[in-house]
């Protein structure tokens, strides 16, 4: 082998060794990041060696979080806010602005609201769809009594891509600032959101929207009445159950179950006219159109010996695919 070839191979050997050492440093960080990811996802923060973790090479995790932010998170878990802020303030480049959100959290704990506001605003504007960033910005706006800015976020950021969690945090915040001047506006937006985002079936979001539209007290009373009614029904107190289900739908008129249960209780207590009356007041938008309601109305008419209306409702129930109505219709209406 020529000297030239040997020189090339020697240079390659030195280069590979250096590359190997550097790659080993990255590998060690990746091993730490495995534990960090588990902690981050499960909020366990059990990584013992965080004081010595690599934060410079690499300085970002595989998921693009600055490693100094991760170290600061462990410090904050131990309530070492000053040390955490020192680390966070030393970060020069953090496009996720996770550092700003963590600073906001630390400043909130230390009671420095103006600094908390600045960090939360920066964090939110850099990643406006992120729930954690939104929460701290909403807190900052709320603590600074900037209610109109909270309301304006809806116009700026709510569209078809907005997540249900984002909306939940937003409406929780606006529910807290509801007053006579903004109540109609907030209710209108809550209603729009409820109709647009029904498919999410997010219980928490729905609940806060119910609070806004019907009042927290009314909604909770409706739940209490419904529970009480259910217990009464089980004890064959059908009149009491019907009354409580009525209270439940009066306080919270968009739950079809309360209407149906009221009708069933009235039927059981032989108040057939009440069954028909309740059916009449169910809003069309909440009728599940499964034929169940119509079947009960048909049976109430049957008990009242009004076969014309009874057949009409059995037929409607069949149209809505309620199978049980078929035999009634054949026996009563086709003979």
């Amino acid at each position: 082998m020529s000297l030239k070839s040997k020189v090339i191979l020697f240079i390659s050997l030195i280069l590979t060794t250096v590359l190997g050492i550097l790659n080993l440093r990255v590998y060690n960080s990746y091993v730490d990041q495995y534990q960090i990811l588990v902690d981050f996802n499960n909020k366990t923060w059990g990584f013992k060696n965080f004081e010595n973790m690599e934060v410079d090479f690499p300085n970002f995790t595989v998921t693009s979080m600055h490693l100094k932010c991760i170290k600061a998170r462990y410090l904050m878990k131990d309530k070492k806010y000053v040390e955490a802020l020192d680390i966070l303030n030393s970060i020069e480049y953090d496009p996720l602005k996770l550092s700003e959100v963590q600073k906001a959290e630390a400043y909130l704990t230390t009671g420095d609201i103006p600094k908390m506001f600045d960090s939360a605003k920066l964090g939110f504007e850099s990643l406006p769809r992120n729930q954690a960033h939104l929460i701290y910005y909403l807190k900052a706006l709320s603590l600074s009594s900037m209610n109109s800015e909270i309301l304006d976020l809806y116009i700026k950021y709510v569209d078809k891509d907005t997540s249900d969690k984002w909306l939940y945090f937003y409406f929780t915040a606006v529910f807290g600032i509801m007053d006579e001047t903004n109540s109609d506006l907030i209710k209108r937006r809550a209603k729009d959101t409820y109709h647009s985002y029904k498919e999410f079936n997010n219980k928490e979001l729905n609940t806060v929207i119910y609070y806004i539209l019907y009042g927290k007290k009314n909604y909770k009373e409706s739940l209490a009445s419904s529970t009480e009614a259910s217990e009464m029904f089980a004890k064959n107190d059908f009149i009491g159950a019907a009354n409580n289900y009525k209270k439940a739908f009066e306080n919270f008129p968009i739950n079809p179950d309360n209407y149906y249960n009221n009708m069933a209780s009235s039927f059981k207590s032989n108040n057939f006219l009440d069954v028909i009356e309740t059916y009449r007041i169910i809003p069309d938008s909440i009728n599940p159109n499964n034929g169940k309601f119509e079947f009960l109305v048909a049976k109430a008419y049957l008990k009242k010996e009004d076969s014309i209306n009874s057949c009409k409702f059995f037929k409607e129930s069949i149209r809505l695919n309620f199978k049980l109505a078929e035999s009634y219709y054949i026996n009563l209406c086709e003979k």
Binding site: V26, Y30, F57, N59
Partner: protein, 410 residues
Amino acid sequence: MKNKINYFLILLYLIIGFVPNIGAIDRIATHFIYLNILSIFSILFFLTTKSKEMISFGIYKNKPLFIFILFTLWATISLFYSINLSESLISLIRILSILLVIFLMGLHFKQIKDLKLILALILFPIFLIEILMPVLKFLQIASNTEFSFKYANDLKTFTPNKNITAAIITAHMGFIFILRFYFKKLEPLFILLIFIGTGIIVFISARSSMIGLILSLLLVYILTYLKKRENIIFLNKVCLAVILGFFASNLYLGNSNTASTQNRLTSINTEDTSTSERIRFYTHGIKHILNNPIKGVGLGNWKTKGIEYNKNYIPAYVVPYHLHNDFLQFGTEIGIIGMFLYAFLFLVILIINIKRIDSNYYLSISLIIAISILFIDSNLNFPNSRPMMMVLLAFIIALTELNRTNEFEK
């Protein structure tokens, strides 16, 4: 003895896909250390053996290697303007690690020069294992339930991602051509493997590999028709095996199955999440390149710069750290010169092999298929970030150099 060590080291390079994470969050960190260790052993081996090869001349004559060196140098310049030096350095050490693999694998091949043994003892067993692992997994799933798209990811087996598994299998399927040249009697087995391999790609539902397979076969069909029409019979058999593979696997899945080719290919529209995401990523990439044509954000920095472009699409902390197109990603990171140098690498490999169709038909066709699939994958995924895929590129470059300098099919 000397050649045995060459074979052994090539084998160790090529089985990189089977090396596990060993505690790391992403196995690429483990793989790069593995490559560095192999490279150290390779260099020590070359230093301790007597060889008449003039390494320096080899570098100048090996055009793909020379272009990769130019590309690495251009990428190195980006350290001076990088927005995050640490990330750029990590990406650079990875490119340098791959450069050394390309260089050293080329030297190993130069010393062996016997393709038949490399293919029979190394590539063919690896290919068999790559095919068998997803087949066994598929049979396990199919024996318990109806196979559908939701199980596709379970077929990834020896890689962390189903798209990488599919791309590796598809690229290795190309080497069936050169295997057939050396082992004519095994032709029915090779055709059967093409058939099974196609079925696996359909079951994995990797659209980029399906497209890659179809386009690369179309390209070699045209080239064979124009330059070596007498060899079209075997190609016809291969095409038939691919068509039957698509047909049989789709027949098994049924048209309504979410994993069927019809459903997977028709889902390539702007309504499909992964398609619309890719379109968005490409738009951001092109916009960035047009605004910063010479200086990018620095090697390895798109994963952080991209956040600014995607800030309205990040509800949690899941960041799109790959642009899903290696060429555009290099364009954003090191400018259009880097982007074109990387694209030029693929073009040069393709041209060298097309020129050699007359002399080494089967080897050239194998390499054309493999590089075409890698090229298409580079346009839709991020093979550059996966050492396993880059070892495949090194393998293609080493074989291309052998193809350029030797007559194997006299």
